[in-house]
């Protein structure tokens, strides 16, 4: 948000930091972070947040830039609206609604990441129930009792699918007020 609106050196510094994070493959970076922080629910969340923030930062900056140069921002400046008020009243609401849509659709993606890490034994550890862990544990019984691996897999699929559909609904609802915003 700051990079997009302030521009100049602030923008350049923040975006180069993002570029550094982009040079590592996300999953490898998450593995590295969990390796440092150790396994466990809290650490997995921190690792995934740290590896994905740059992607969100880029998107928010891009959105801020598209709104920053709209005529209504110029009109608001000409009417005496201050910088903070412009951000809060004119830029934040459309950026936030776009971000909520993206985040909702991304929940499924993040769940797959967590499950992937748990499958490798680096995420959530037993006795906390987790579908990735269940799939990992059920590998040995895949030929004798395939339903043990099928059900957690099915649940991951259904949950990710549900969040994607919720994302679609959220987009339709939030976009209806600000026609022409996107």
């Amino acid at each position: 948000m700051l990079a997009g609106y302030a521009g100049g050196i602030v923008d350049a510094a923040l975006m180069r930091l993002c570029d550094v994070f982009f040079t590592f493959p996300t999953f490898v970076l998450a593995l590295f972070m969990v390796g440092i922080l150790g396994a466990g629910m809290g650490n997995v969340i921190i690792a995934i947040a740290l590896t994905h923030w740059a992607w969100y930062a880029r998107i928010v900056r891009g959105l801020v830039l598209t709104f920053k140069y709209r005529d209504y921002i110029l009109a608001a400046r000409a009417a005496g609206t201050g910088r903070i008020k412009i951000v809060v009243r004119h830029i934040l609401p459309p950026v936030f609604s776009q971000l909520v849509i993206l985040a909702t659709m991304d929940i499924g993606h993040m769940m797959l990441h967590v499950s992937g890490l748990s499958f490798l034994g680096l995420g959530i550890t037993p006795p906390t129930p987790e579908w990735g862990v269940m799939i990992s544990d059920a590998r040995e019984y895949i030929w004798t009792q395939p339903s043990v691996i099928l059900w957690p897999g099915m649940m991951i699929f259904l949950t990710v699918m549900s969040f994607n559909l919720i994302g679609d609904v959220v987009r339709d609802r939030l976009d209806s007020k600000g026609k022409g915003d996107t």
Partner: protein, 286 residues
């Protein structure tokens, strides 16, 4: 007394790419003019002649590359925070693109009262009363206040933008093609309202337009901008017709006559059209 002034103003943009250094593009060159308090200055020119750039420089929304923009004897570049606050309150603008210059998420009422909220706090009732009064001033119903911008027509939206510019009771209004999208009836209604404000409160105008007839009717002085330069200045329609500047001649030639002029041999319809014109508009000077 001069309210606003441009002294030797120039604006250069740079267009470049990763592989090529930017070539300078002079949008405005050596602009000098004054707007006296209570006056109305017209600015005409073809698309791309630099009219909107000049408008943004006058408003301090962009910085000049050269020269000074002066408001009440003080350079905009030397303005303090308090100066800007006072300037923004006193100088208002109506942009060309009505749909683009309103937040699509705001209701008409929120759009109109936005300038007021920057300078005072209003109760819900005061907001409704103010917005209703401003809407009626520009010929719209107070009930329009609850609508969103995409629910009103382009002409209505332009009037909403004019109402927003009037909200703070400014001493100067810059109208950037503000009435071009309105039909003739609404145009005359808005122009009469603006003239009334000039008579009653001494509001100063900078009227940017393509329409020579409106500019010559509304303004005391007309500046002609061509490829970023002020090429000539005239006072009225007669001076426009007498002026030999090719840019002005070209603009004159592009003005459509209010009725068909074709009257060749064997043109049976021309006389009938003229007779009908006389019946419809007896005062029309044929």
């Amino acid at each position: 007394m001069n309210l606003m002034e441009m002294r030797e103003v120039g604006k250069t943009y740079r267009r470049g790419s990763v592989f090529r250094s930017g070539l300078p593009l002079d949008a405005l060159k050596n602009i000098n003019f004054q707007i006296r308090q209570g006056g109305s200055v017209g600015l005409i020119g073809r698309s791309g002649s630099g009219k909107s750039t000049l408008c943004r420089l006058l408003l301090g929304l962009e910085k000049t590359s050269r020269g000074q923009v002066i408001y009440r004897g003080k350079d905009l570049a030397a303005f303090s925070k308090a100066d800007w606050r006072s300037f923004r309150r006193r100088v208002q603008v109506v942009f060309q693109n009505a749909l683009g210059s309103v937040n699509p998420r705001f209701t008409v009422q929120e759009i109109i009262i936005e300038p007021l909220l920057n300078y005072s706090t209003l109760t819900k009732g005061e907001k409704e009363r103010k917005s209703a009064a401003l809407l009626e001033q520009v010929g719209l119903r107070a009930s329009e206040g609850t609508k969103l911008p995409h629910q009103v027509s382009g002409g209505e939206l332009q009037r909403i933008c004019i109402a927003r510019a009037l909200a703070l009771g400014p001493e100067m209004i810059i109208l950037d093609e503000a009435v071009s999208s309105l039909d003739m009836l609404i145009q005359s209604q808005i122009l009469n309202l603006l003239k009334d404000l000039k008579r009653s409160f001494g509001v100063t105008y900078l009227f940017i337009s393509h329409d020579l007839r409106i500019v010559s009717w509304f303004c005391d002085e007309i500046l002609v901008l061509e490829e970023g330069r002020l090429v000539t200045r005239v006072r009225d329609l007669q001076e426009i017709e007498e002026d030999s500047d090719p840019a002005l001649k070209e603009l004159m030639a592009s003005v459509l006559p209010p009725w068909p002029r074709q009257e060749g041999k064997g043109d049976r319809h021309a006389g009938r059209i003229r007779r009908r014109d006389r019946r419809c508009c007896p005062d029309a000077a044929l």
